[in-house]
Amino acid sequence: MAIAAAPHGGGIADHIHPEPQSFVRRYVFSIDHKIIGIQYIITGFVFFVLAGLLAETIRIQLMHANGGFVSPQTYNEVYSIHGSTMVWLVVIPLLTGGFGNLVFPLQIGARDVAFPWLNMLSYWIFPIAGLMLFSSFLMGAPTAGWTEYPPISLEGQAGTSMWAAAIFLVGVSSTLTGINFVVTIMKMRAPGMTFTRMPLFCWGQFATAPLLMIATTALAAALAALFMERQFGVPFFDPTKGGSPVLWQHMFWFYSHPAVYIMILPAFGIVSEVLPTFSRKPIFGYKLIAFSSMAIALAGFMVWAHHMFTSGLAPYLQLPFMVITFVIAVPTGIKIFSWTATLWGGKIHYTTAMLFAMGFLVLFTLGGITGIFLAAIPFDLHLHGTYFVVAHFHYVLVGGSLMGIFSGMYYWFPKMSGRLLSEKLGKWHFWLFFIGFNGTFLPMHWLGLEGMPRWVSTYDPQFQFWNQFASISSFVMTAGILLFFANILYSIRFGKVAGANPWGARTLEWQIPSPPHYYNFKHIPTVYGLPYDFSQPLPYRGLEDELNDTPPPVAAGAH
């Protein structure tokens, strides 16, 4: 289905635009997917720092049963913005806009994404929306958590409307990115790069992009309705005017359940690249991993009401949602078993990227298992809205997505900057983060089982010990993250020069210089097989000139 390079040339693959020379066109309003990816990553990590400060505020507040660090009002604002930021401004942009833009066009052998200008547009919407979200603090931020259930969000402070507008804009950015990625993967793969030869990171993006495109639009509808109701009094959700609060929950979760797969499928992809590279072994069960990503993405649209078992849903509607949710455990299990089997018989190199990928396996598996628990309606009726849920989703989102992001950062940083991140600092980062993370979130499981509800700024004194334990552990985790930023700042100046392929990896992006040229490939290569077979020569032809000084050919079709 990919466009084969025409024998007489002149297609997109032979159409090399001249590199822009001004600083602004090159680094600010760039249409180069690599620069845009780096822009996403930098912006995402800036918001990550802000969200981390908010998270520490939460943990300091919960050091004591009576709270007292901030007022309950501020506390509610803090966790609402923390959740919204982490979901919409950190994890989703980093994984799709960031690593997606940076890596997958290189991996499929394209010169850029399908619509570079659209790509620039979707990036520039994102920081604006982020600033809008944080500006809601000035007018009274939303307090009802990242889910903003009406009617409480209808009577929330003025910033709640700003929140809705900001998330709507992020949604527009996501939708455009999704469209761009689908078209790029469908149409712009290098000759010979069939779907069954595509690296698994691309499969992760390919499964995610339709979710971005379809689910995010559904969220846009919900947010628009909320905004209209708050600003113009148009009744959708207010029960006193005939609306239904449960309607919001349907509309919101119809997006937000697929959104959790938006946040994890690209991380699956990252891990599927890192594990084989550092095990010096093909990924185990390539086809099943690729297929299970698609299965998860598809099934993700059919399970949203499992967030609503306590919301007064008709009983007969609950059962199918529970069973389909259980079914998702099967493809997810296949992935975890396949990754574990990939390690078997390997020659495992303990780079930091590999440590994070293995940490991902350990933590995500736990989050996945508690996810199955919560899918069982009787268990959910007990633990919905408690700290058990908080523990569960932090295990999948921090232990899963964020570990994947860190793994990807250590893995692809040389490709972005040409220099390696310090392995020594990286290992400190990993261990502090891993230990601190478990110390923070593992106790939340039994806090929830004992009866500690979510969204509280004070709690019963019997929960104080484990809360203090969690808070102190969170400082350890934060120390790890600080080391990570120190590492980046240090290595970008003084890091070891990486060369084209410091990891001995076999996917296409490692066969070209780091950082790659503006046009990515001097000649678009032809692909002959899967990239993961370490005993075979590289399955690419046409890459001979990539690492020497040959200038790129003048574009045949350039006007």
Binding site: F115, G178, G243, S244
Partner: protein, 207 residues
């Protein structure tokens, strides 16, 4: 005047079609279709919201609100559907090189689209000033009806502007007999707007 230059625009267009155009067109076509898909999801979400609220056990239409006027809406729908048919023939004529006919069909389409908007404006005026139904003051009926039809009306408005731009562009010789992706996209968009109305007409007036 415009028509004359369209007729000329078609002449020197043969043999210019190249690999770059074929590939770019394929990308744009797919991107545009995916955009329509996500737009469709936007409508679907609001339609879901409408059907959900409608079936939340309060009876329909809610107390104090009359049934919508089916006969007038049927005429208005026929106007919009008719514009879909003329748009189809506009593109067909362009493909076969009948640029005059193309221009007339496109003009018909725009006129019918404006007619639909006028009809909708008339209907809104009636509802607001005669029946005293408003967007925010009439409960879930006003909310869902005005939001969905308003959103559709906005799409029609954008479509009319889009088609007008296409008319001017084709008059200015932007498209040739073989390279006319903008016209294809415009036709797709206009059909999409029509088809959404089939659904909205059915669920608001006939259900």
């Amino acid at each position: 005047m415009a028509v004359a230059s369209i007729t000329q625009g078609g002449h020197d267009s043969h043999g210019e079609i190249d690999q770059l155009y074929i590939e770019t067109r394929e990308l744009r076509l797919q991107g545009f279709l995916l955009f329509l898909v996500s737009d469709c999801v936007l409508f679907s979400s609001f339609i879901f919201a409408y059907l959900y609220l409608r079936n939340s056990g309060q009876g329909w239409p809610p107390a104090g609100i009359n049934r919508l006027d089916v006969a007038f809406a049927a005429v208005n729908s026929v106007v919009l559907f008719g514009s879909g048919a003329t748009m189809h023939y506009a593109l067909e004529n362009w493909k076969h090189g009948n640029f005059m006919k193309f221009a007339w069909m496109l003009i018909f389409t725009i006129v019918l689209g404006v007619g639909f908007l006028c009809g909708q404006g008339y209907e809104y005026t009636n509802l607001i000033f005669h029946d005293h139904v408003s967007w925010w003051g009439s409960g879930i009926f006003g909310a869902s009806f005005f939001t969905l039809t308003g959103m559709h009306g906005f799409h029609v408005f954008v479509g009319v502007c889009y088609l007008t731009v296409l008319l001017l562009q084709s008059a200015g010789g932007v498209y040739t007999k073989d390279k006319y992706f903008g016209l294809t996209a415009g036709t797709l968009y206009w059909h999409f707007v029509d088809v959404i109305w089939v659904v909205l007409f059915s669920i608001f007036y006939l259900l």
